[in-house]
């Protein structure tokens, strides 16, 4: 059951990902990306990361993608205005990406990974567990990321505010 789920989700993920890349209209790209994010969230659920799945949808689909959508619409981008590379370059891009994949896999030498012992704790991805981890071990990164946000916030304001 979960195997088939995995396969279906995977296919969906990959197809939507390709759609992002190939779509002529930026709007379609955005939408395919949203689809892709949902399928990834599905994988999270499969992998016992339920909390993360929710957060993922909220943050990505809900926030980031909206931002993208917003910008695309603001700038009024559509398939007519969409710039395209030469076909040669596109082929080269695909070949390069493919090569990268091959090389990565080759260097990982995807043999069977180390065995793991079942049963795993299935509550690993629950809010409780994740939260505990986040506020104990990962307290410092958590705090520090606030600096990141501050910086990004000020930056966005500085960059985008209309003036003069």
């Amino acid at each position: 059951m979960s195997f088939y789920l995995f396969v279906i989700l995977s296919v969906l993920t990959l197809c939507s990902a390709f759609a992002v890349v190939l779509a002529k209209n930026p709007m379609y790209s955005v939408l395919s990306l949203i689809v892709c994010f949902f399928t990834v969230a599905g994988h999270y659920v499969l992998l016992n990361a339920q909390f993360l799945a929710i957060v993922h949808i909220i943050v990505y689909a809900g926030a980031i993608m909206v931002l993208f959508l917003f910008v695309v619409m603001l700038l009024n981008l559509n398939s007519e205005t969409e710039p395209h590379k030469d076909n040669m370059l596109k082929v080269a891009a695909v070949i390069t990406g493919g090569l990268l994949f091959v090389v990565l896999i080759a260097s990982i030498k995807a043999t069977e990974l180390g065995t793991f012992s079942l049963p795993q704790k299935s509550n690993l991805g629950y809010v409780e567990e994740v939260g505990k981890k986040l506020f104990t071990d990962y307290l410092l990164p958590f705090e520090i990321s606030s600096v990141l946000f501050l910086s990004a916030m000020i930056g966005s304001v500085v960059l985008a505010k209309k003036e003069k």
Partner: protein, 641 residues
């Protein structure tokens, strides 16, 4: 104790000998321009006179067999080798000292008058004194390196004096040529010294002779050494192949030709070989070489002398020829005979040069004998002295040249009849061209312009006195060496025997010629020479033949007149290739290969930069591409390795 005292009594004057000219040189050189002209000339002359007196004093007071050796200071030292700076005075040196200072003094006197109009008067005497100083150093040194100082020093003075009239670039070229040709010889000398220094550990004459003697006869080491030394000698003494500078050296003032290029410096080569007689005697091969070179030089120069029309050039070739003769003597192991001829030659050749100077003086610089003639009546003293000088050089009894030449010819007769024939021929040619010179210059009518003719005059006393003194010497000089074969004591040979004796055991010993043969040879030589003189008289006085203009010569005459094209030959095989090579090195190797390699490196880097720079095309897409490809490549390195 007594000995010591006597030594100090001798050492002091010995040291004064080179000191006088040195002082003269320095005073004239530094203060000369503040002193009146004449004073500087006299000062220089007196300096030489002082040296002469000291030399004479030594000559009279030195006991036989007690040489004076003065070690002054350690000059160069390294490892176990030490080369000192010191003087040695033995009979050989004494002879040279007397010749140098004596003739030197006369020539100085002569020059006071000869040069009195020249603006470089003081400079001239400065150089002359310097020359004498170096020449004295050459003969007084107690090792080869000190000799070498003098050797190169006289070369320098020769250079300076040949180019004395430095505004004329032809003269300058002659001076440069002299210096450089001498340097070629000097390199040989230097290498010879290296051999001695390396194998014998010293450059002192006695040490070298002793060590060499230990190696025995026919040792290749000694052969090489002596050949190298002979190269040095042939440079200085103008032997084939390094003789071409000497005729050109006539560019200098005539007293210089007399002193340097006839009487003293050019005999340094002979001096050097006599000085190293043991070494040379140990190497028969070298002696053969010297003999052959001497013969060739003697004949060749004599032949060229036949067709020269410049009064000084004739004398110059005659000098070369005579020097060749001296080398023949050395080549036959007759060291003292060679030396003897050096001395007599110094007398009569100096006389001839000074005489020619007097002629030139009278004619205001005219040197071409085709424009002379009939001078006998205008310049009596000059004529007579010159005539006697010519007799002496032609080997007419009883003048000085006769004895010394005869001695050499006698040796040649013993050595090899062919050598004797060639040398006799050469000596007959000498007689011919010398009298060709005399007759063309002094007999018949004056052939120059009227303007010159009006001003012809005998030289002042200051010039004629040296001529007369030298004439006397040319007449009596030969009696120093009356042939032993005829029962006389050979005073000169005896005096020198101390120096030449050590080499005797290694030389071929000939039986003495019988009296009859010897006298026969003498008579033959004199008669033949006289007949040559007569022929010349018939040709030039009676028939009034004149040497043809240079352009009209043909065939052999042209070749001879052009000195066998040796200069041109050297020019083509040495000078021009070097010029070409120089450009080749500079343009091809320096600029094209080496510098290009350097610049090409820079260029390659720069070109790489230019190319790589194009990658930086500002296109982010491309950058990302490049990054990804870079990663793939680097990962591949990892995967593959």
């Amino acid at each position: 104790m007594n000995n010591l005292l006597q030594d100090t009594a001798l050492i002091f004057p010995a040291l004064l000998i080179p000191l006088f000219p040195l002082i003269g040189f320095m005073v004239n050189g530094v203060f000369g321009k503040y002193l009146p002209k004449q004073i500087t000339g006299w000062l220089a002359s007196l300096a030489i006179l002082g040296s002469f007196i000291c030399a004479a004093y030594l000559f009279l007071n030195m006991n036989k067999g007690s040489n004076i050796n003065i070690d002054m200071f350690e000059w160069i030292s390294f490892a176990h080798i030490q080369i000192g700076f010191g003087f040695l005075i033995d009979p050989l040196t004494l002879i040279m000292l007397l010749v140098i200072t004596g003739i030197g003094f006369l020539i100085h006197l002569y020059s006071i008058s000869y040069m009195h109009e020249d603006e470089g008067f003081t400079r001239f005497f400065t150089y002359l004194n310097m020359f004498v100083f170096f020449m004295l150093l050459l003969v007084m040194g107690n090792n080869y390196l000190v000799m070498f100082i003098g050797w190169e020093g006289v070369g320098l003075c020769s250079y300076l004096l040949i180019g004395f009239w430095f505004k004329n670039n032809a003269y300058n070229n002659a001076a440069k040529k002299a210096f450089i040709m001498n340097r070629i010889g000097d390199l040989g000398f230097l290498l010879g010294m290296f051999f001695m220094l390396f194998y014998f550990g010293s450059l002192n004459y006695d040490v070298v002779a002793n060590e060499a003697a230990k190696l025995g006869i026919n040792n290749s080491l000694i052969t090489i050494t002596t050949i190298l030394l002979f190269v040095g000698a042939s440079g200085k003494s103008a032997q084939i192949p390094l003789y071409t500078w000497l005729p050109d050296a006539m560019a200098g003032p005539t007293p210089v030709s007399a002193l340097i290029h006839a009487a003293t410096m050019v005999t340094a080569g002979i001096y050097m070989i006599v000085r190293s007689n043991v070494l040379f005697a140990l190497s028969p091969i070298t002696l053969e070489v010297i003999l052959i070179v001497g013969i060739l030089t003697s004949v060749m120069a004599a032949i060229i002398g036949l067709l020269q029309n410049d009064i000084k050039k004739v004398l110059a070739y005659s000098t070369v020829s005579q020097l060749g003769l001296m080398f023949c003597a050395l080549g036959m192991g007759a060291f003292s005979s060679g030396m003897f001829h050096v001395v007599t030659h110094a007398f009569f050749k100096a006389l001839l040069f000074l005489g020619s100077g007097s002629v030139i003086h009278a004619l205001h610089g005219e040197q071409d004998i085709r424009n002379m003639g009939g001078l006998a009546k205008y310049t009596k003293v000059t004529f007579y002295t010159f005539f006697i000088g010519s007799l002496a050089i032609s080997g007419i009894f009883p003048f000085a040249g006769f004895f010394s030449k005869d001695e050499i010819l006698a040796h040649a007769f013993q050595e090899n009849i062919v050598v004797w024939i060639i040398l006799t021929t050469s000596s007959l040619i000498t007689a011919f061209y010398m009298f060709r010179l005399v007759y063309l210059t002094f007999f018949n009518e004056f052939r120059g312009t009227e303007d010159v003719k009006k001003h012809i005059h005998e030289s002042p006393a200051l010039m004629t006195i040296p001529l007369v003194v030298l004439t006397i010497l040319s007449v009596i000089g030969g009696f120093m060496g009356l042939p032993e074969g005829l029962g006389f004591t050979h005073a000169f040979g005896n005096f020198l025997s101390e120096v030449t004796a050590p080499s005797l055991p290694y030389l071929k010993q000939h039986q003495h010629l019988s009296h009859a043969t010897e006298i026969g040879l003498m008579i033959f030589a004199v008669v033949a020479a006289l007949s040559m003189i007569v022929w010349a008289r018939i040709k030039y006085v009676k028939n009034k033949e004149l040497p043809a203009a240079d352009e009209s010569l043909t065939g052999l005459n042209k070749i001879i007149s052009n000195k066998f094209y040796v200069d041109e030959f050297y020019n083509n095989i040495i000078v021009k290739p070097i010029t070409v090579l120089s450009d080749l090195f500079l343009v091809l190797i320096d600029k094209l290969i080496i510098d290009l390699a350097v610049n090409a490196t820079a260029w390659v880097v720069s070109a790489t930069g230019k190319t790589l720079r194009l990658l930086q095309n500002g296109n982010t897409g491309f950058y990302v591409f490049a990054m990804v490809i870079g990663m793939i490549v680097l990962l591949l390195i990892r995967v593959i390795l």
